[in-house]
Amino acid sequence: MNTLSVVFVASTVVAGFAFGLAMLWVTAEWLKSEGESEEVEAKVQETLGAPGGWPATVAETRSPGP
């Protein structure tokens, strides 16, 4: 194997490395954003009650009607 072929082989290894790094970076960003959205969802549910229900504070201020 001459120097040029070593360079070619090394470049395929680098391709695998670059692809893996890019995929991992995207994965990490996705994990962060998913963690944040889960936290926000949990916080909203904790404060406003069950999903789909009226927030307690809004329900209390609604007019009882005629």
């Binding site: 194997m1 001459n2 290894v13 991992l24 963690g35 406003l48």
Partner: protein, 434 residues
């Protein structure tokens, strides 16, 4: 140690495998390669497939740990110790299997001392050595505060030694975190190059058309992440106890497995279609052997059906809104993905070798005693059982003995995170609420 009961039945199962596999181990030790089915036509048998599987698993598990230590995904931090231990045991197991395949294991270290720098195999030797060293250093850094805790509680000389003079100060924590991050970054580079290099080792063989592909280094990196994330997810569920957020992290890991499985599947389809389109006889013959040969069930049923399509379906199947994450289903999917990952290595390695690059070898059967059909015999299966049993027992023993996890670590971690982020959470809520 850990709030989940220690999995004694699993330890018993691995111990039985270890004991049952002793005859195969002794046979390899005493009779070298005399009683194995691989040989001149198929020189790399199931032990090399096992080596590739465990090497990928090792790199992949380490990459999972870097999500927390390098990419700052804090929710993955409780899995760092587990990932590192998994990576270390898998690296040891890979070395065990590849050593068994060597004709002269006692000369194995020659690859480091008498190297040809132009050889991809030599690169692998150096990289595995560097990776092992990084793993030991990083695990020592992760564990030393816990050894210090044990030493403070009267843990003895070993705990004091392994604490390496750790003092619970803020400056010490900052130093350790920085060192972990640095080691994680160097390890990340090595762990990404390692599977790519293993793929390149096959890709440079021009006489083997299916191996001779520029996509191989990428395929191996993807396969490593699939197997690493799968094993950490399964072990995380089995060994650690956490709240909803921790379970959410494990489900997220399984989604990563699903996404990377889909990428791996797409690469496989691409390889097969290109081979079919090219119609080069030697290339098509390998694909035919894999998909229509006597062991096509390993490809269709184990690798594609159970190891790829079913896990992707189980993991990425949309669930009704408000339904709790299906951690157990995700774990089953990850276990299936692991089986598929092993079948993937077998299909990659064996069918290509059954069609010899030089045809006269098969035509001259008598002097070479060569058979192009390779089926692992009892010695190989038995030895494989021994190696897997040894890995399982070694991992569980280390998990039991090392201060790997504080009691309820994920739960403690979640509470700490909630306290830290309480102010931030309120601010986010202000933006969301009308």
């Amino acid at each position: 140690m850990n709030s989940k009961p220690f999995p004694w039945p699993l330890l018993a199962a691995f111990s039985i495998m270890l004991v049952l596999g002793i005859p195969g181990f002794l046979d390899r030790l005493l009779y070298e390669h005399h009683h194995v089915a691989y040989g001149r036509i198929v020189p790399w048998g199931i032990w090399v497939a096992a080596y590739m599987f465990f090497a990928g698993l090792s790199a992949g598990a380490f990459l999972v740990s870097t999500l927390a230590t390098v990419f700052n995904v804090e929710r993955c931090r409780p899995l760092v110790g587990l990932s590192l231990l998994t990576s270390m045991v898998a690296l040891g197991t890979a070395t065990f299997f590849v050593t068994a395949d060597l004709g002269r294991p006692d000369r194995g270290y020659f690859i480091l001392l008498h190297s040809n720098p132009a050889s991809v195999m030599v690169w692998l030797g150096w990289l595995y050595s560097a990776f092992g060293l990084i793993l030991v250093l990083k695990l020592a850094l992760v564990l030393r505060p816990r050894w210090a805790e044990r030493a403070a509680a009267g843990g003895g000389a070993i705990a004091r030694f392994l604490a390496f003079g750790y003092r619970p100060t803020r400056a010490q924590d900052v130093f350790d975190r920085t060192a972990q991050r640095l080691l994680g970054a160097v390890g990340l580079i090595v762990a990404l190059i390692l599977p790519g290099c293993a793929g390149t080792l096959l890709a440079v063989v021009a006489g083997r058309p299916v191996w001779h592909s520029g996509l191989f280094p990428v395929t191996f990196v993807v396969a490593a992440i699939v197997s690493g994330a799968s094993i950490v997810m399964v072990l995380g569920l089995l060994l650690t106890r956490g709240g909803r957020a921790h379970q959410g992290t494990l489900v997220s890991l399984s989604k990563i497995v699903g996404a990377f499985l889909a990428v791996e599947f797409a690469i496989l389809i691409s390889e097969v279609l290109i081979a079919r389109r090219g119609e080069i006889p030697s290339h098509v013959a390998v694909i035919e052997t894999m998909t229509n040969g006597p062991f096509s069930w390993v490809f269709w049923i184990v690798q594609i059906g159970l190891g790829t399509v079913l896990p992707i379906g189980l993991i990425l199947m949309p669930r009704p809104e408000g339904q709790a994450p299906r951690v157990s289903v995700a774990a089953i999917a990850c276990l299936l993905a692991l089986c598929g990952a092993f079948a993937f290595r077998i299909n990659l390695l064996i069918p290509q070798q059954t069609l010899p690059a030089i045809n006269f070898i098969t035509n001259a059967k008598a002097p070479f005693e060569a058979d192009p059909v390779y089926v692992p015999n009892w010695v190989e299966w038995n030895f494989l059982m021994f190696g897997i049993g040894l890995a399982g027992v070694g991992f569980l023993a280390a998990y039991r003995l090392l201060p790997l996890a504080r009691k309820d670590e994920p739960i403690v971690f979640e509470l700490a995170m909630k306290r830290e982020q309480a102010a931030h959470g309120y601010a986010v809520l202000q933006e969301v609420a009308p």
